[in-house]
């Protein structure tokens, strides 16, 4: 010590020290940050929906998002659970995903009923975020589809740039089309076709999907194997009998495959945790989707395929547990 010995050295107060287990620093990732990023990734699709279907699309989205958040709050109150869970963004995201699964012509009560089904039946009855076996938005969509088949399968024809697009024009989903009615590939790619809000523009969904992949929010294995499987199976089916089904590219761009593969199947809670499990999950989704689309009674099978694979997720997780670091050698040595 030098001349400055007179300066008082401030020492830490030991009685105020926190004692806890390591690690003592955290990466700063939170559930709400993840949810916000998925929300951002859905923005191109949301904007595309408003462009093609007008303010009616915005109304559906607002109703579903607000509806899901309100149901989450009310449920927590009724169940006497901590009330803050709407802040994590998961309910709002479920709402937006639900809206993406509805037509812009959906009446307000469908949106509210859907929110109720998604949050209560899809999530809270199982214990809330993290415990739900099925994708909540898809639970709601399928429940609505079964309950109101007419309403849920009539689509508004797109009117690009027309803000006040009205419900008058109805068009069929391109997947139900046959022969000369097939939509053009470029219309499918940009989204100038009838369908749910989030089903139409492949371009917007690819942008969002790329963002999620870049931010490492989703595993590439699920969308890649899902889309590839659909392309291969429908491609083969088309090759064998062109009358049976449209070509592979049509199947990839049309309907709910893009939003399903990038946003619904990749839901963390309901998809496998391991990389290999994700591959199996994606292939399974692809097979079921293709079978329903090509040979099944419904024109679209993405929702059913994802829900079915959701049910298999615990099983897939169990059988894809990898060998830990240093495991192979044990085996070799005991074999010797």
């Amino acid at each position: 010590m030098s001349e400055s010995e007179t300066t008082v050295v401030q020492m830490p107060d030991a009685t105020k020290l926190v004692v806890s287990n390591s690690p003592h620093i955290r990466g700063g990732e939170t559930i709400s940050k993840i949810m916000v990023q998925v929300f951002i990734a859905l923005m191109p699709a949301a904007i595309a929906a408003v462009w093609f279907f007008g303010l009616a699309a915005l109304e559906v989205m607002v109703l579903c998002v607000m509806g899901c958040m309100a149901v989450e709050v009310l449920w927590n109150k009724a169940a006497k659970k901590p009330s803050g869970s709407w802040k994590d963004g998961s309910a709002a995201l479920t709402g937006l995903l639900l809206a993406m699964n509805l037509s812009s012509g959906a009446p307000w009560w469908i949106c509210i009923l859907g929110s109720l089904l998604a949050i209560v039946l899809g999530k809270q009855l199982f214990g809330g975020l993290g415990y739900n076996p099925f994708n909540p938005a898809l639970v709601a969509r399928v429940a609505l589809l079964i309950g109101f088949p007419q309403l849920m399968t009539s689509w508004i024809a797109p009117q690009p740039g027309n803000w006040l697009a009205c419900d008058a024009l109805t068009g069929a989903t391109p997947l139900a089309a046959t022969g000369k009615e097939l939509a053009s590939i470029s219309d499918l790619f940009y989204g100038n076709v009838g369908g749910c809000l989030g089903e139409t523009s492949a371009l917007a969904l690819l942008l969002g999907g790329a963002f999620l992949l870049f931010r490492r929010i989703i595993k590439w294995q699920i969308p890649a194997s899902f889309i590839a499987t659909v392309a291969i199976i429908t491609g083969l089916a088309h090759h064998v009998n062109p009358e049976l089904t449209p070509p592979a590219l049509y199947h990839v761009l049309a309907g709910g495959l893009m939003i399903g593969a990038f946003f619904m199947a990749t839901d963390m809670v309901t998809s496998p945790m391991t990389a290999n499990g994700a591959l199996i999950f994606g292939v399974g989704c692809g097979v079921i989707t293709s079978v329903i689309r090509v040979w099944g009674g419904y024109p679209e099978g993405v929702s059913f395929s994802i829900l079915f694979m959701n049910a298999l997720t615990p099983l897939i997780d169990r059988y894809t547990i990898g060998k830990p670091f240093g495991y192979i050698r044990i085996k070799k040595e005991t074999a010797q």
Partner: protein, 442 residues
């Protein structure tokens, strides 16, 4: 070997925060009036105290002798009088036996060991005995007796020096490699001779380019290769380091020698060189005193038994009240509740963490995002094991190979739900061990 930085699977990239102290040369802490030497500084059996209250001791004199193979002796940090043998605050927040030495100010060496200047021609067994006698442990943090690793029961072909220093904030090994480059290499060469090897490899993370180039300048004189490692936590974990450098996987529950490797920390290597060349036992080490609240973060050469309060005082005290005081780094270090704990042979850092970084989290449910699975360097499933532990299913945890966990904390670091994963694994291991002991008793 190629120049490409070597790495392992998984891992995380925390802010390294080493700039606080990386450029500060090592200062030798002044002689204190009193040292409180904690008796049990090693993994394994505690040594047996051989002095009593009132004894006069010289610097380097034996205070406690090893009690078995996995045990190390303890030596006096300075000359003076043994004024107390009593319990004092230990590094795990419980009191532990310690020997208090009141310095006489002479700092006079006893003559414990004969220097072995001609180590190149010395019998390896003699060199190894010196490591045993000098009380050297793994100074990177573990405190495992160094001589145990030097007595492999399986053929060994690779000696690795661990200069990764992958823990954020810590710069003690960095400064050591920079300032005592030749001592590090000399230690490596001596260790190689003990193991009957010709060469050694030293692994250093790429964020210490100055140390790497300085080591490279002298390495060939000592038959040592310097290998750059990717900056990735936990690069300095023994198994990850071996994998990065040799591609070999240490089996679960196994030791480095199972894959023909011996790993020693760079500071331990210097302690070996000091013991052989100078005849000095292990009574001092370089420790980083750092953290945002610290006035003058830096690196000091402390004798064992130096109270942490003295170390913080030397660093100018604190600007603001820290939230945590750690021994070691922020990823694996131990939180303290007393400033009276003293520096031990494995105290690599005294780290004060500001309130901003210790924001209190509530643990939320697992959303199965899989980030922990990606981060885990041991390729186990932290999220799944954690859920097994929450359900008190320790048998599941065992099936899921919780035993492989090295408690590096990478999973807890990345978890967006702030789940106490690392704690869960520690608990699972303890429960499994307890169950096994119970079974053995039956």
């Amino acid at each position: 070997m190629s120049d490409k930085p070597r790495k392992f699977k998984g891992g995380v990239h925390p802010e390294d925060s080493k700039a606080l102290s990386a450029s500060k040369p090592v200062q030798t802490a002044p002689l204190l009036g009193k040292y409180t030497v904690i008796v049990h500084q090693n993994i394994g059996a505690p040594p047996e105290i051989v002095v009593k209250k009132g004894d006069l001791v010289k610097k380097g004199q034996l205070l406690a002798k090893a009690t078995g193979f996995v045990s190390v002796p303890l030596h006096a940090p300075t000359s003076g009088t043994v004024t107390a043998i009593e319990k004092c605050p230990g590094p795990a927040c419980v009191s532990v036996p310690a020997i208090e030495i009141t310095a006489d100010g002479q700092d006079e060496w006893g003559s414990p060991f004969e220097p072995i200047a001609d180590w190149q021609n010395a019998d390896p067994a003699v060199l190894k005995q010196r490591v045993v006698d000098a009380g050297i442990v793994g100074m990177g943090g573990a405190g495992f007796p160094s001589h145990v690793k030097l007595s492999p029961t399986k053929p060994v072909d690779t000696l690795i020096l661990n200069g990764a220093e992958c823990e954020p904030y810590l710069t003690a090994d960095h400064r050591l490699m920079l300032e005592q480059t030749e001592d590090v290499l000399l230690g490596a060469a001596i260790l190689a001779r003990i193991l009957g090897l010709e060469t050694a490899v030293i692994g250093v993370e790429a964020n210490k380019p100055d140390a790497i180039s300085k080591l490279n300048a002298f390495a060939s004189n000592y038959n040592v290769t310097v290998q750059t490692l990717a900056v990735n936590y936990p690069q300095g974990a023994e198994k990850q380091l071996i994998y990065a450098l040799t591609g070999r996987e240490v089996p679960i529950g196994g030791l480095p020698m199972d894959v023909g490797c011996v790993v020693q920390n760079v500071a331990s290597a210097v302690a070996v060189a000091d013991a052989v060349i100078k005849g000095h036992p292990s009574i001092e080490r370089i420790t980083t005193v750092t953290g945002e609240p610290v006035v003058n973060p830096g690196n000091w050469r402390f004798r064992i038994g130096t109270p942490i309060s003295k170390a913080i005082e030397l660093a100018g005290g604190v600007k603001v009240q820290p939230a945590k005081l750690l021994l070691g780094g922020p990823m694996m270090g131990f939180a303290q509740n007393s400033l009276d704990v003293t520096v031990m042979k494995n105290t690599s850092g005294i780290l004060l963490i500001p309130v901003e970084q210790v924001s209190q989290y509530t643990s939320e449910p697992c959303i199965r995002c899989g980030r922990c699975v990606e981060a885990c360097p041991m390729d186990i499933l932290p999220a799944t094991i954690s859920q097994a532990v929450e359900n008190e299913r320790f048998d599941w945890a065992e099936q899921l190979n919780v035993a492989a966990c090295i408690e590096c904390g990478s999973c807890s670091y990345v978890c967006p739900s702030h789940r106490p994963l690392n704690q869960h694994f520690k608990r699972a291991k303890a429960e499994i061990l307890a169950a096994k002991r119970k079974q053995q008793k039956k």
